[in-house]
């Protein structure tokens, strides 16, 4: 993380740095989070991995809103969805790289009745 520009103050909204569009947390993650207002379908998004600073690139398959998940690689049906290095559920359908990941293609594995 030391390679990243240092903030001049808390928040530092006006710093002149290339905008990140997708963030993942660990290199194990197969989903990232969209951090722009909307990621348009077909857009080539650039991003970063928080733990290692490794850059990532992904073409978005859908219009994906801020805060929502994007598949960083294809995830077969039944496979674990990994965010921040932790399994947060599984693919309920085959998910292609760049697709929006949410209620329509992912379910909990916790066994907690919802």
């Amino acid at each position: 993380m030391s390679t990243r520009p240092r903030a001049v103050g808390s928040g530092d909204a006006k710093a002149d740095v290339p905008a990140l569009q997708v963030l993942s947390v660990t290199t194990l993650d197969n989903v990232g989070v969209v951090v722009v207002e909307t990621l348009d379908a077909g857009a080539l998004a650039t991003g970063s991995t928080l733990d290692t600073g490794v850059a990532l690139q992904i073409v978005s398959a859908n219009n994906i809103p801020f805060g929502h998940k994007i598949a960083l690689m294809s995830i077969p049906r039944g496979e674990a969805v990994i965010k921040q290095g932790v399994c947060i559920g599984q693919a309920a359908a085959a998910i292609g790289a760049g697709e929006h990941v949410h209620l329509h293609n992912m379910v909990s594995r916790s066994g907690v009745p919802s």
């Binding site: 808390s10 909204a13 905008a19 963030l23 989070v33 951090v35 801020f66 932790v86 559920g89 919802s114």
Partner: protein
Amino acid sequence: MTAVPSTFTGWRRANGRVGIRNHVVLLSLDSGSDAVAATLSARVPGLTLVGSRFGASAQRDLHLRTLIGTGSNPNVASVTILATDVAEPSPIMEGIARSGQEVDAFRVDAGQDLIGHLQARVQSAAQQQQVRASVSDLWISTKCEQSDATTSLASCPTVGSMFDRLIACGACGVLGETPELVGLTALVASRAADPAVAAKWTRVRQARIDRRADERRAGREQPTAENIAHGITTIEEKSLGSFAKAGRDHPILDVLGPAEAPSAQAGLHLMDTSSETDCIDHMVAAGFVVHVHASGVAGPVDHPIVPVLQINGNPFSVADAPELIDIDVSGILKGTLTVEQAADNLIGALCRAASGTLTIAERRIRKSS
């Protein structure tokens, strides 16, 4: 990483704990005494009014524990209880007195005696000597609100990093909100200090799961409809974000009941609370003196005797409601701020608040009273 600011000025209490505020509390116990208490607090400047609806709970013992714990909190200089019926305050008065706190009870018709008593209480609080204290004296509580991807990536990890560093210096910390931690039981259990604490967590978690049908009827599903709209899909994902507040370094020493004081003076704790605002009341009643509130969408959150610092990492919320946010960590999502730098900012703000700088929530309360 900058050095952790290590001291602040506060008030040392009879029980050895250090408060960061010196509230002269007027505690009204029933709706009949609320109006009298409001009149008195208008007549006697410097009182902190705690009304009869405060800490209300369907469980009477929890309500009592909340009132006793709040009155005993180190942020309080003294408590004057006001009630329509004199018999009513006794268990509360006895409970508060057990902590070594100055406490008296009056009937609403005590008149001039009461005004003189309250004036003397305010004066004596103003004369109390402040002491220099160390961060190891700080008891810090935390909660998240309106969770989204930014609480999970930015504000909650910043709180976690703050705990990693301050607990290493001897501070005491607590997080709670069992309903949203139930999705990752193994992750929480793996942080328990010993098997007995892990077993306590498993029991508390199961009890919450057993009550989920009631929660659902009350419209409190997890993740909530707002969480889902903001991109959180499963309970595991919500738990992961919420548990980021626990940091990485320190074991969970105990799983406390709501409003239960920890037996250790230092270290990280989990409290079995709801995800509603009564969570803060129960943490304060356990003796925590400052509260860090990590929000996805910022909203007004405060407490009558404990400074609330709101931390937010959502660039849209920061733009929409800067007047609600004490610590802006939205730079984390832009790549302009690291979690460690954000934790520096949070620790700096905590130490300033501990030394008396009013938080946004405190300024709002003062304006409206």
